[in-house]
């Protein structure tokens, strides 16, 4: 009567090996990065220069000591931090603000939402070049031309060390704030309506509801956006490479750009890799903290 099939006994579901079997394929694809990464870290302890691939000698921590002593390193460190922190914060604020505006349906909201991610669709290096045309120092630049109409003198934007970093942050925000808007929109839609209705009944103000209800409920979004955006903005390269290349007098030289000069332009792979390893380490500790915060937020 029953179609019981007796088969070799194996531990009942799920088999012990199944989880590893499933994650293994993805691991192989990413093992490909382990060898280059380890080799890169090894280079930081050598005097490897590209033009002399033959004689690589071990120099221990000489590269690190030398670089940590140099002022250029700490300047690049500072620029990287200022760029990443301000880019992420503005993207969070802008992302949340726009998401709140787009949350409720109104005529045309669907069109606006589909136009939302167009800036992300253009290769960053190309949008940086296009922005460079818009930010041209003379009144030939579109932005200066428009500002000129309202009587503001042309600003040198990417050409002046005071405004160069600000312009780069502006470009980064332009490209990646849609990412934040998307995540927040998803988050806002998954928040139940009841708490808001209850709060309204108690006569809570919009600001109170935002602070006490929306923000706490959106914490996972905030952590998620910060996690992915912080990693990318610490490692920013395309945007600066296409415009100022670390331009006016080191004002926009981040760790990644400085490593580009050291390793690719001046062939000093050993030193270049030190900058990159520091950058990797920064990403590591921030993500470790953020992902722990993420699991904690999830459980609560």
């Amino acid at each position: 009567m029953t179609d019981q099939v007796s088969r070799a006994k194996h531990p009942n579901p799920p088999q012990r090996s199944l989880p590893y079997l499933l994650t293994f394929p993805a691991m192989i694809a990413l093992i490909g990065i382990l060898y280059p990464f380890v080799l890169g870290v090894y280079y930081t302890f050598t005097n490897y220069t590209l033009t002399e691939p033959g004689d690589i000698q071990w120099v221990g921590l000489a590269n690190y000591v030398e670089i940590f002593k140099a002022i250029d390193f700490w300047k690049a460190f500072g620029v990287t931090f200022v760029f990443a922190a301000s880019a992420v914060m503005i993207e969070l604020a802008l992302g949340l603000g726009v998401a709140l505006l787009l949350k409720d349906a109104f005529p045309g909201v669907r069109i606006l939402r589909s136009f939302l991610i167009i800036p992300m669709m253009i290769p960053p290096i190309v949008s940086a070049l296009m922005w460079k045309v818009i930010l041209l120092p003379t009144n030939q630049g579109v932005l200066n031309h428009i500002l000129g109409l309202v009587g503001i003198r042309p600003i040198a934007w990417l050409g002046d060390s005071a405004t160069a970093l600000v312009s780069l942050i502006l470009i980064d925000v332009w490209i990646y704030s849609p990412f934040a808007v998307l995540i927040f929109l998803a988050g806002l839609q998954s928040i139940p309506k009841e708490p808001y209705e209850a709060a309204q009944v108690d006569g809570a103000s919009d600001w109170f509801m935002f602070r006490k209800l929306t923000l706490p409920l959106l914490t996972p979004c905030i952590v998620l956006v910060t996690l992915f955006r912080l990693i990318d903005s610490l490692k920013v390269f395309d945007i600066i490479y296409a415009t100022t290349k670390g331009g006016p007098a080191g004002a926009t030289t981040t760790l990644h750009i400085q490593s580009y000069f050291e390793a690719i332009r001046w062939f000093r792979m050993g030193r270049g890799m030190v900058y990159l390893f520091v950058l990797w380490f920064l990403c590591f500790i921030f993500s470790k903290a953020l992902s722990r915060l993420w699991t904690k937020v999830l459980i609560r």
């Binding site: 579901p13 799920p14 199944l18 989880p19 499933l22 994650t23 394929p25 993805a26 691991m27 694809a29 990413l30 490909g32 990065i33 280059p36 890169g40 802008l94 603000g97 709140l100 505006l101 787009l102 409720d104 669907r110 939402r113 589909s114 136009f115 167009i118 800036p119 669709m121 290769p123 960053p124 290096i125 190309v126 949008s127 296009m130 009144n139 031309h145 990412f179 998307l182 998803a186 998954s190 928040i191 808001y196 309204q200 919009d206 935002f210 409920l217 959106l218 996972p220 979004c221 992915f228 490692k235 390269f237 580009y260 890799m273 990159l276 990797w280 990403c283 590591f284 470790k288 999830l298």
Partner: protein
């Protein structure tokens, strides 16, 4: 939040207007540049009213160009096809590898689970420059240089970590009892996976496909160093318009507009999924 009071509605309209001018203004400017002839493109002061011409689009697609208008060897359609192949292959491979990994990270509890999950994420930390030269040597020795499969493998480093973390949230979102019911109904874990779990996260897959496609489509360093003449991608194609003589801004702008089309089509196809799609467990809060 009720926006009944007119004051709020004006504020909302102003806010949206400001943001979308900031977001779409440059895109519109690029579109205008793509319709200008060489002298207008970099006129100073910038020209807002001009006689539009489709010359740039003609040059980069069909390759015919009027005399005296300088151009580069128009291989743009080939770069476009290369990128289409590589980006789609990358997304397909990422889906194949990542979906299973995400499912096992979400469903099963096993040793080193959180470490494995974090390792996937950590592959996104390494700056591209750090791994590009050693990776180049590996690709050269294994003959993967300038090949579609080589670039598809390299792009996994960009798309796979993101895909695994997002899909993991989705799988965690499915109530366990639904999968248990399917097992009891007589399906192996594979049957449950592809008949119940996978269809239930279709919105998530849509969101992840479009975002991964964009990341792969826009890549620059991997395609430049690990690719070659046969697999040159669109980003390099667009940069190719920085000629020795001068930058062909008009043609570069036209190339950029065409570059956006496949992503727009894909976004439109999965449009309603994207927002709903990103509503995943982790977001529930």
């Amino acid at each position: 939040m009720t926006t009944s009071r007119p004051f709020k509605r004006i504020l909302k309209a102003l806010g949206l207007g400001a943001y979308f001018t900031f977001a779409l203004g440059p895109v519109i400017w690029i579109a205008m540049m793509s319709l200008k002839n060489p002298n207008d493109v970099i006129a100073s002061p910038p020209k807002f009213v001009f006689t539009p011409t489709l010359e740039n689009y003609k040059i980069i697609t069909v390759g015919r160009h009027a005399q005296g208008v300088e151009t580069v060897r128009p291989d743009y359609p080939r770069y476009f096809l290369n990128t289409l192949i590589i980006a789609s292959a990358t997304v397909v491979v990422s889906l194949l590898l990542g979906t299973f990994a995400a499912y096992s990270l979400a469903r099963f509890s096993f040793r080193f689970k959180e470490d494995i999950a974090f390792t996937f994420l950590s592959f996104r930390f390494a700056p591209e420059l750090m791994i590009i030269l050693p990776l180049y040597v590996v690709f050269q020795k294994t003959g993967l240089i300038d090949s579609y499969s080589g670039l598809t493998a390299a792009y996994q480093l960009i798309t796979l970590p993101f895909l695994i973390w997002v899909l993991r949230g989705f799988f965690e979102d499915i109530p366990r009892e639904i999968e248990q019911a399917a097992r009891v109904d007589g399906y192996t874990w594979w049957g449950v996976f592809h008949r119940i779990s996978l269809p239930l996260i279709k919105p998530g897959i849509a969101a992840v496909v479009i975002l991964s496609f964009i990341f792969a489509w826009n890549n620059f360093i991997f395609s430049m160093i690990l690719g070659g003449e046969r697999t040159q991608t669109i980003t390099l194609g667009i940069l190719g318009f920085i000629g020795y003589e001068r930058v062909l801004w008009g043609q570069m702008a036209a190339a950029t507009m065409i570059c956006v089309i496949p992503e727009l089509i894909l976004a439109f196809l999965v449009q309603n999924y994207i927002i709903r799609g990103l509503t995943f467990g982790a977001i529930k809060g």
